[in-house]
C-alpha cells in the first residue's frame, strides 16, 4: 500500500516537474499548482457524513438532513480554507548549503506572506525531512529543515514541497516547487595525522617566539576575515576598511597536500584533509589545498574555508 502510494507520489512529482519547469525563486504559489487530498481523518469524516445523509433520507427527517448538509458544506468550506493557506504564499530558499557527511544539512526556507491572513502550520519537506512554521499576515517567517546527509559529495535537490493541514487536519494541501538547492557535503573531518608543518617543526622559523600577535602592517579588507583582525581604528578615522596583518599570517603558508597522504584510501585521505582545513582555520594561519587537478591558493577566512571544503566535497565528481 505504501509502495503504491510512493509510486503515485513519484509520478506526481515528475509530472509537476515537467508541467511547471524550473521555478525562479522566490516564487508566489498559484492556485493551479496546489493539490489537495483528504487525510485519513478526512476520509473518516466523509464516511460519517455519508452515513448522516443516508440516515436523514431514510428517516425522512428534514432537520437531520439539513444538519447533515450543513456539516458536509462545512467540510467543503474547510477544504477551500486548506487550499487558501498556501495560495499566494511566497517562498525562497538559500540555494547553497554546506554540510559534513554523517551530520545534518540545514535548509533555510524564507516565507513571505503579503496577504491579510495569517498562514499557520506550513510544513516544508525537503530530502525526506520536514520543518514547520507560521507566517503572520503581512509578515514573513523562516522555516528550518534539518536533514541528515550520509554521503560525501555534491548533491542537488531539484524539488521541495510545501504542505499544510491547517485548519482541522481533515485535508492536506501541498505543492511542489522546482527550486535548485545544491548541498556540498564535505567529508566528515577525521584522521590521526598532525598538520605537515607540525611534523617539520625544526625547519620553520615563522612559528617561533614572535607568535600570532605580531603586527606587521595593514592590507585591504576581504570578506571572511576574523572580526578581531579588523583595523577598526582606521575605519573609525574614515579610512578604507583594512585588516591588520600579523607576522604569523604573513608567514609561510601551510600546504595541505593530497600527495602527503600516500597509501590511504580516498575517503580517509579526504577526511584527513578536511580535518586539517578545520584545524588550520581555527589556528588562523594561511593554508592552501592541493588536490589532483585542483589547487586552491593559500589564504584564510570563512570564504576560503568554504572554498576548500567544497573542493573536498566535489572531489572525484568532475565538479568544478
Amino acid at each position: 500500500m505504501s509502495s503504491l502510494r510512493q509510486a503515485a507520489t513519484n509520478r506526481l512529482r515528475a509530472w509537476a516537474m515537467r508541467r511547471h519547469g524550473r521555478d525562479s525563486l522566490p516564487i508566489s504559489i498559484q492556485r493551479r499548482r496546489i493539490y489537495l487530498l483528504p487525510t485519513r481523518f478526512g476520509v473518516m469524516l466523509g464516511a460519517i457524513l455519508g452515513a448522516m445523509m443516508i440516515a436523514g433520507l431514510n428517516y425522512n427527517s428534514n432537520l437531520a438532513l439539513g444538519f447533515a448538509f450543513l456539516m458536509s458544506s462545512m467540510a467543503v468550506v474547510i477544504m477551500h480554507h486548506c487550499n487558501r493557506n498556501l495560495q499566494r504564499l511566497s517562498v525562497d530558499v538559500t540555494p547553497e548549503v554546506d554540510a559534513f557527511a554523517g551530520r545534518e544539512a540545514t535548509f533555510e526556507f524564507e516565507l513571505r506572506n503579503g496577504s491579510n491572513l495569517d498562514r499557520r502550520d506550513i510544513e516544508v519537506r525537503c530530502l525526506s525531512a520536514a520543518g514547520m512554521g507560521n507566517a503572520a499576515a503581512q509578515e514573513g517567517g523562516t522555516i528550518e529543515v534539518i536533514a541528515p546527509v550520509a554521503q560525501r559529495g555534491v548533491t542537488r535537490v531539484h524539488q521541495f514541497e510545501l504542505r499544510t493541514r491547517y485548519p482541522f487536519g481533515w485535508f492536506y494541501a501541498w505543492t511542489y516547487v522546482q527550486g535548485l538547492i545544491t548541498i556540498y557535503v564535505a567529508p566528515s573531518p577525521a584522521g590521526t595525522k598532525t598538520l605537515p608543518s607540525a611534523g617539520a617543526k625544526g625547519t620553520g622559523t615563522h612559528s617561533e617566539a614572535r607568535g600570532d600577535e605580531d603586527f606587521s602592517g595593514l592590507r585591504a579588507y576581504e570578506p571572511g576575515v576574523p572580526l578581531k583582525h579588523m583595523a577598526w581604528k582606521v575605519l573609525a578615522r574614515g579610512g578604507e576598511a583594512a585588516v591588520r596583518n600579523y607576522s604569523s599570517l604573513a608567514a609561510q603558508p601551510e600546504w595541505l597536500e593530497w600527495s602527503a597522504l600516500e597509501g590511504m584510501d580516498i575517503e580517509a585521505r579526504l577526511s584527513q584533509l578536511c580535518l586539517w582545513v578545520l584545524e588550520s582555520d581555527s589556528a588562523q594561519r594561511p593554508y592552501g589545498l592541493r588536490l589532483p587537478g585542483r589547487e586552491i591558493a593559500p589564504s584564510g577566512g570563512a570564504a576560503h574555508r568554504f572554498a576548500c571544503l567544497r573542493a573536498l566535497a566535489a572531489f572525484g565528481a568532475g565538479e568544478s
Binding site: 481523518f41 436523514g56 431514510n58 425522512n60 482541522f168
Partner: protein, 660 residues
C-alpha cells in the same frame, strides 16, 4: 502532530462538547448510560490532571466487555435508533477514557457529530436544531485548538473562525437542502423503537378506574379548513369506536375491523380540511365525522368509519380530507352487527337493565327513549367532574344510581349501556371535540384536553346517530374549576390563562410559529420541491429537472464560496492605480514573466523587454504610464481611465514553449 499526546485542556474541551451533545438525548437514553459516560470522562480528566496517561489497555477491554452486554440486555438489539445512540455514546465514553493522542480526539469529534444527528432523528423542534448547531460550532472550535501545531489559538479566535466557517457553509447547505431529491418511501424499514408511553386515546375505556382526569395541554393535531369551519356542535373528530362492553370496560372489538364500511348518503355541505397529525403511536387518524375522502393512499376506513393507517403514526402526517357532518345510512343494519352492538353481560349492572326495561315500556319510540334518558341526565343531580369517585365492576349501576358524578366517559358508557339494555344498538365513539381557533394562523388547535367520548345509536330509517350525553348536563352542575363544559364553545383553558389574556395571545402566536416551522420545514417534501420549481418558472417539473437545477445551483454556490474564501486573501485595494498595475503584472505573470518583489516598474519593464522583445514597446509604455501616474505632476499625466483601458486591452501571448 497526530501522535502528540493530548493535554488536560484539550481533554476538558472535548469532554465538555461530548457532554453537551449527549444532553440532547437526556429524555431517551437510560440514566445509567449517562452515568457510565460521565464516570469515564471524570476518570480520564482526573488522570490527566494528576499527570498520568490513559489506563492500561487490559482495564479498558475488561470495562468494555462489562458494559456492552449490559446495553444488549437493556435493548435486545443495537439496530434501533435509541439502542444505536446508546451504543455510540458508550463508545464515545470509552474512547474518552483511552484518549492518548490527537487521533482519538478526531474520532470523538466524529461521534459527537453523529450523536447530534441522531438527536434530530428523534426530536424536531427549532430549538433542538439551534442547540445542536451550537454544539457542533463549539466542537469545531475545540478541534481547531487541538489540531493546531504550536500554541493553540485562543478561544475567541477559534470560535470566530468556527462561526465564519459555518456561515460560509450556510448557502451551500441551503441549496442542498432545498433541492436534494427526497425519497417517497424509506430505503429500508425503520426499526420501530418501543417508544415512550403513548399519549392521547387508547382502544379501551374504563371510566370507573379513573379518579383524576389530568388535562394535558399537549397538542394532538391541528386543522385548517379550506373554507368556513362547521359550527362547534358539529366538530366531532372521530377516533376509535368501542363496541364491546364487559360491564366495566369498553373495548374495540377485533371482529368489527374487517369489511367495507356501510354506504352513506351525505347531506348538507362538504367540508374540506387538512389535519396535521402529531405522532401518537396508534394507527388511527382523526377525521371530521364522517369522512368521505382522504389523500393518504395507505390509509383505509374501517367499517365503523375510523380512518386507519397500516402502521402506527411515528412521525407527523398531514391528511387532506373531505367530510360531511350530516349523513344518512342507506342500508339497514346487518343482523350480525346488530347482535354485536346489543351485546352486554347479563349478570352485570342489574339496576340499569331494570331501568332500561321500565323506560322502554314508557317510550316505545327509539328517539323518544333517547330524549327521555338525556332528560334524566339533565333533571337529576348529575355532575360533571374531573375527579369522580372510583367505581367497581357494576360501574354503570353505581354511576347512575349512587355517585352521579363523572366526566364524558362515564356519561357515554352509561348511556350506551342503557340503550343496549333497552334493545337499541349503541356504541361509544372516542375522539376529540371542538378545538381552539388560532386567529394568528387561522387554524384550529386540538389539545389532549379536548379528548372526548360520545355515543352513537342505531335509529331505523336513519342509521347511526350521534348522541352526546355529556352535553345534556346542566351548566350549573359543572364542577372542579372548569369554566366551560366540554360541550361549550371553548377549550378547557386554565383559570390563570383566562385571567391574563396576553398570555393566551402569546401562546397562540408561539403555536403559529410552531405550525409554520412544521409546515414549511418539517413537512418539506417532493411536493414542496415541485412547487419551488414552479416558482422558478420551470415548466413541468420532475425529478430529472430537479437534479439539473440542483447542479446549476450548486455550481453557483461553489463559485460564490470560492470567491468568498479567496477574496480574503487580498482585499480589493482602494487605490485604482495600484490595482490596475497589479492587473498588468498578473497578465505578465500568466505570460511567464512574473514581477519580482524587489523590482520597480522601470526595472521590470526592462527585464520584460529583454526576455520578450515582442512585448517590449507596449510594456515599457505601460510601465512608464504607471510611473507617471504615480509620481509625475498632474499636468504631465495621461488619465487614469486611459491607463485602465490600455491595461485592459493588453493581451500578452504566453511564452512559446521551448523544446527541451
Amino acid at each position: 502532530m497526530i501522535n502528540e499526546r493530548v493535554s488536560y485542556e484539550q481533554l476538558l474541551g472535548i469532554s465538555g462538547c461530548l457532554a453537551l451533545a449527549l444532553l440532547a438525548h437526556v429524555t431517551t437514553l437510560p440514566l445509567w448510560v449517562f452515568a457510565i459516560i460521565v464516570a469515564c470522562g471524570l476518570t480520564r480528566l482526573w488522570l490527566a490532571r494528576s499527570g498520568r496517561g490513559a489506563p492500561p489497555r487490559g482495564v479498558l477491554i475488561a470495562f468494555a466487555a462489562l458494559v456492552m452486554p449490559l446495553l444488549f440486555l437493556r435493548f435486545h438489539t443495537f439496530n434501533g435508533l435509541v439502542a444505536g445512540t446508546a451504543l455510540l455514546s458508550v463508545t464515545a465514553g470509552l474512547k474518552l477514557l483511552e484518549t492518548k493522542t490527537q487521533r482519538d480526539i478526531y474520532i470523538i469529534t466524529l461521534i459527537i457529530y453523529f450523536v447530534s444527528l441522531a438527536a434530530l432523528l428523534e426530536g424536531d423542534s427549532f430549538w433542538l436544531l439551534a442547540y445542536l448547531i451550537g454544539v457542533c460550532w463549539l466542537t469545531t472550535a475545540t478541534l481547531l485548538r487541538a489540531t493546531s501545531s504550536g500554541p493553540a489559538p485562543g478561544w475567541r479566535r477559534s470560535l470566530r473562525f468556527g462561526g465564519r466557517v459555518l456561515a460560509q457553509a450556510l448557502p451551500l447547505a441551503l441549496v442542498f437542502w432545498l433541492l436534494f431529491p427526497r425519497f417517497a418511501a424509506p430505503l429500508w424499514q425503520i426499526p420501530n423503537d418501543s417508544k415512550t408511553a403513548a399519549s392521547g386515546l387508547s382502544d379501551t375505556m374504563s371510566p370507573g378506574d379513573i379518579t383524576q382526569l389530568a388535562l394535558s395541554d399537549e397538542i394532538a393535531f391541528r386543522v385548517r379548513f379550506d373554507s368556513a369551519a362547521p359550527p362547534s356542535q358539529e366538530r366531532y373528530w372521530r377516533g376509535p369506536v368501542l363496541d364491546y362492553f364487559d360491564g366495566h370496560t369498553w373495548t374495540r372489538s377485533t371482529s368489527g375491523i374487517g369489511g367495507a364500511p356501510p354506504p352513506l348518503q351525505p347531506q348538507g355541505p362538504a367540508y374540506r380540511y387538512t389535519v396535521m397529525m402529531e405522532p401518537h403511536q396508534h394507527r388511527w387518524l382523526f377525521m371530521l365525522d364522517w369522512p368521505s375522502s382522504w389523500n393518504q393512499p395507505r390509509a383505509e376506513l374501517s367499517n365503523d368509519y375510523t380512518l386507519m393507517e397500516p402502521e402506527p403514526l411515528s412521525r407527523p402526517v398531514d391528511v387532506v380530507g373531505t367530510s360531511h357532518t350530516h349523513v344518512q345510512y342507506s342500508e339497514p343494519l346487518k343482523p350480525r352487527t346488530r347482535m354485536r352492538e346489543l351485546q352486554q353481560p347479563q349478570s352485570r349492572n342489574p339496576r340499569t337493565q331494570q331501568l332500561a326495561r321500565e323506560m322502554r315500556s314508557a317510550h316505545p319510540d327509539d328517539m323518544e327513549l333517547v330524549g327521555a334518558v338525556l332528560g334524566m341526565f339533565r333533571q337529576q343531580p348529575f355532575y360533571y367532574t374531573l375527579t369522580p369517585p372510583k367505581l367497581s365492576d357494576n360501574s354503570v349501576d353505581e354511576f347512575l344510581f349512587d355517585t352521579k358524578r363523572g366526566f364524558c366517559g362515564h356519561y357515554a358508557s352509561a348511556f350506551a349501556a342503557l340503550m343496549r339494555a333497552a334493545g337499541i344498538p349503541a356504541r361509544v365513539v372516542t375522539g376529540y371535540q371542538g378545538g381552539t381557533l388560532n386567529p394568528y394562523g387561522n387554524y384550529w388547535i386540538l389539545r389532549q384536553s379536548d379528548a372526548h367520548a360520545w355515543t352513537e345509536v342505531w335509529i331505523d330509517g336513519h342509521g347511526w346517530t350521534r348522541i352526546d350525553p355529556t352535553a345534556a348536563i346542566a351548566p350549573e352542575r359543572v364542577e372542579s374549576g372548569l369554566a366551560d363544559a366540554v360541550n361549550a364553545d371553548d377549550t378547557l383553558a386554565s383559570r390563570w390563562q383566562r385571567k391574563t389574556p396576553w398570555f393566551a395571545g402569546a401562546r397562540l402566536r408561539l403555536d403559529m410559529l410552531r405550525e409554520i416551522w412544521r409546515e414549511r420545514i418539517l413537512d418539506f417534501d417532493q411536493d414542496s420541491q415541485r412547487k419551488l420549481l414552479e416558482m422558478l418558472k420551470i415548466p413541468e417539473p420532475d425529478g430529472q429537472k430537479l437534479v439539473m437545477v440542483l447542479g446549476a445551483a450548486m455550481a453557483l454556490a461553489f463559485a460564490w464560496l470560492t470567491w468568498q474564501i479567496h477574496r480574503e486573501l487580498a482585499p480589493p485595494s482602494k487605490d485604482v492605480t495600484a490595482r490596475t498595475y497589479a492587473r498588468l503584472c498578473a497578465k505578465l505573470a500568466a505570460a511567464g514573466i512574473a514581477r519580482k518583489a524587489h523590482e520597480g516598474a522601470e526595472a521590470y519593464a526592462m527585464r520584460v523587454a529583454q526576455e520578450r522583445p515582442d512585448l517590449a514597446d507596449t510594456v515599457v509604455a505601460l510601465c512608464r504610464h504607471y510611473s507617471s501616474l504615480r509620481y509625475a505632476p498632474p499636468s504631465a499625466r495621461i488619465t487614469l481611465g486611459q491607463f485602465q483601458a490600455a491595461v485592459r486591452a493588453f493581451r500578452p501571448k504566453p511564452r512559446p514553449r521551448l523544446a527541451r
